[in-house]
Symmetry: C2
Subunit: 502 residues, 2 copies
């Protein structure tokens, strides 16, 4: 190992993670699944360092190059060559866990350490449901998806633009998106942040919502910096990263590598490159502002050589994820693992197989953040209403799974097994069953367990039809959280003023 | 640990597992996922021993009770009270791995050690496909399912009655089932074995097919002994077990526990009871014939309290499976893990989510045998043609997954990452990609990776429709393996004679 696992580093500012006790946020107690030996992990680290030292990472942004030069990084033609001592020095400044605050403090969550956070799909231009098929997303759709995340207890965050609201003019789309995120729910929000200027507007709205002082000492926004693999960060990403880092907001550095296109066709080469790219982004964030809360993200799929499409839930990706998670754990950085990704256009058998094949491995590696935990279809081009609520059944199951086995004495039920229930008897009404049955098992309400006869008699309703009814029922149940009218007015004033300017 | 992990015990008879090198049979090289500490595992073992010593296991069969008494097991009212020293003494006689032979030796597989065997669904009375819905199974359906297992390379066995052929009179149904298994394919076969007399006919047919000497020295049949939990083995199961054990054929002891009904609602209690029951069956097989090749099976689901139905793919079952696998590994016994179980009536999203949630955990525990690896629907009441071929795509992916990460030097592709592909470039035509792309990724042929536009233009064909076409195409591709006409005639003669008698 290049270095010992770093000690727990508390966030320099804001609330103390140890004091954010969330009954709904799963806490990891299972052992992490690790497939690389210490020597193999060291080798992966060394090869990544070689990529950083000899290959370098392009920073196509003037201000970023200046920051790198101020921190004595060697730059040739906008390519930064980090040496490994530098990398380790700056990684040590990143907190290992921190609090992500929502508008309602009861929804605050811990990012990092042993804590797991689920967030919904982010980014698709299209939306699909049974009633209307696939179409451009609208502001109404975005609001609906925020309402679903706000209502479903297994979702811990509202994410960012869960669908692109195409009916809002592009010049001020980010403002209406951010307004929807801030007002339709009160769970933690990521924000809108495609470029530096957009990030600035997002930060301005957050300042109005939370107040300048609160914003300074709390992490209330969370941007994803996608490295444009291979080995490139562009000015849009970098200008946004700098703004978030300087405002002490969360920077999630996630290379997107499609093995065979943006990286080699091999697992090892892909993971080494992904590691180099993720670390370069995190080191840069620490140079922009030491102590910036960062997340190490892994987003990897393989190339389908017949169609050129990304393949999600592939076995190669499962193995790559295990390795990436081990690296992030070695660096003691919060780790973003894979969500319920699917290549399928619809949530049929393929879509469901892919989603679990993509996400179950994440549940094995002590993940800290799962973006796109529900709703994702068609390689991220589409969000499905039905897929969203079906995936949330998985999230409910994972909440139970992450509770681990209870080793309480009463769990043995030995007296019942040995003395109370005879051979061939049953445990249905036994004393132990009566004590525990209400809480013993997670029940997936969207899944049908009726007999085939009863199921056919009631119309042979399949999962997607049930999910169609369910998402509409959840929208009816939704309650809008209160918002101080003065704050709302101030948000609207800012937005209307910016609309005039843009 | 009650005892050190037992040394590798070769099978006393027949082919040497080390010499059965199957390119298609996956070999386990990943580390097993283990969630219990050594102390916790010891506790699980101790509690199971307490169940055997104080609760005992009912053996409702006269001959079995005699066998137990001959081996000094304490019997009161047909309940056997094993002491832990006895259990350990007899477990040590069970081989840790052995060869399961097919009619074609090229299809022989190793059961145990680091080897994984997939077998199809066994037992459903009903069959379903898109064209005809759900209906009683027929002999034609059974033949079709055998043809699919024979044709699909990711299936290593033909299993047993993949569907009950209801159009064959019940008196001699087992004979026609066994004939179909022996003649429509040449991969390893389990057999038909619901009772002692049926097992005797199955053994007689195997004797005709393989010859008496071969049968004596090879494991060509494989029965599943389902303990009737809690703590009961009935005369049907026991008489069949004794026949298989005395003929040196494989005995797979698998308690079926629906937590909340046949076992407690807790994970720990369920696993302790399941362990006691599985060990009792294996110990008894060793008493019936020392060295009998045995499998330690875990079949556990939870009870849906609203419908009373078994729930498959539940998070509680995933955790229970990890514990059972650790116990089997401690005893150095071949372990049967969970297959692609689903409660769903059809292979919609629910069916697919459940199947992966049930089977992916098996891929983490160094499994040796996966029965019901394809086709299972409706809690095992129905086999689906489309489900069968869709699940086989998962088996293909698991074959790739089980290959683990390659740590070959060329896998790093460092020269390509550092020197050949510039920042923002692509790896599509690079030298490393050209060398490896043909074999780099598993491709799921049944999954659609086209764009949404192309997919819609070609009719928006969903997974189940594609699978419907696929299974028919596989049936057309099927080639019947050669069979010596004299042997065929002898099999038919035996069957016709038995039909007269029955």
């Amino acid at each position: 190992m290049a270095r010992k696992r770093m000690r727990n580093r508390p966030s320099p500012h804001g609330p103390n993670p140890d004091q954010v006790a969330k009954i709904t946020q799963p806490k990891w107690t299972l052992p992490p699944y690790e497939i690389a030996s210490t020597e193999q992990l060291q080798l992966l680290h060394d090869k990544s360092m070689q990529i950083l030292e000899e290959g370098g990472i392009a920073f196509y942004d003037e201000e970023s190059v200046q920051i790198l030069e101020q921190h004595h990084v060697k730059i040739v033609d906008q390519i930064a060559y980090f040496d490994r001592a530098q990398v380790m020095e700056y990684l040590a400044k990143a907190p290992s866990q921190f609090v992500w605050s929502g508008r309602n403090p009861e929804h605050n969550v811990v990012l990092g350490g042993d804590h797991v956070v689920f967030a919904p799909v982010v980014g698709p231009p299209f939306i699909r449901d049974l009633d209307r098929g696939r179409r451009d997303g609208t502001l109404q759709d975005l609001q609906n998806l925020i309402k679903l995340s706000q209502t479903i207890p297994y979702m811990h965050s509202l994410g960012a633009e869960n669908v692109v609201p195409s009916d809002v003019p592009i010049e001020y789309r980010h403002l209406e998106t951010m307004y929807a995120l801030l007002t339709y729910g009160d769970k933690p929000v990521m924000g809108v942040y495609h470029t530096g200027p957009i990030a600035a507007d997002t930060l301005a709205l957050a300042k109005i919502m939370y107040g300048e002082e609160t914003l300074r000492h709390n992490h209330v926004l969370h941007c994803v910096v996608n490295v444009s693999s291979p080995r490139r960060l562009d000015d849009r990403m970098l200008s946004m990263l700098i703004q978030f880092a300087r405002h002490n907001q969360i920077v999630d550095v996630t290379p997107f590598i499609l093995s065979g296109a943006m990286g080699p066709v091999s697992i090892l080469g892909t993971v080494a490159q992904l590691n180099a790219e993720a670390l370069a982004g995190i080191v840069f964030a620490q140079m922009a502002n030491p102590g910036t809360p960062c997340i190490y993200g892994s987003f990897q799929a393989v190339l389908d050589l017949q169609s050129g499409a990304p393949v999600f839930g592939a076995p190669e990706s499962q193995l790559a994820l295990y390795l990436s998670a081990q690296l992030a754990r070695m660096y003691n950085l919060p780790f973003r693992a894979a969500g319920a990704y699917a290549s399928s256009k619809i949530i049929d058998a393929q879509g469901a197989y892919e989603s679990v094949m993509a996400m179950f491995p994440s549940m094995l590696v002590r993940p800290n953040f799962i973006l796109h935990a529900a709703g994702w279809l068609e390689g991220g081009l589409t969000v499905g209403y039905e897929k969203f609520v079906l995936d949330c059944e998985l999230l409910g199951m994972y909440h139970r799974y992450l509770q681990n086995v209870s080793w309480e004495e009463d769990e043995w039920a030995l007296d019942m097994i040995i003395n109370e229930v005879p051979p061939g008897g049953h445990h249905l009404g036994s004393s132990h069953t009566m004590r525990h049955y209400r809480t013993a098992f997670y029940r997936a309400g969207l899944f049908d367990y009726d007999s085939a006869e009863a199921w056919e008699a009631s119309g042979s309703i399949d999962s997607i039809q049930r999910a169609n009814q369910k998402y509409k029922q959840l929208l009816r149940q939704y309650e809008k959280p209160d918002l101080d009218p003065g704050t709302d007015e101030a948000l609207r004033d800012f937005i209307e003023r910016r609309k005039q300017e843009l």
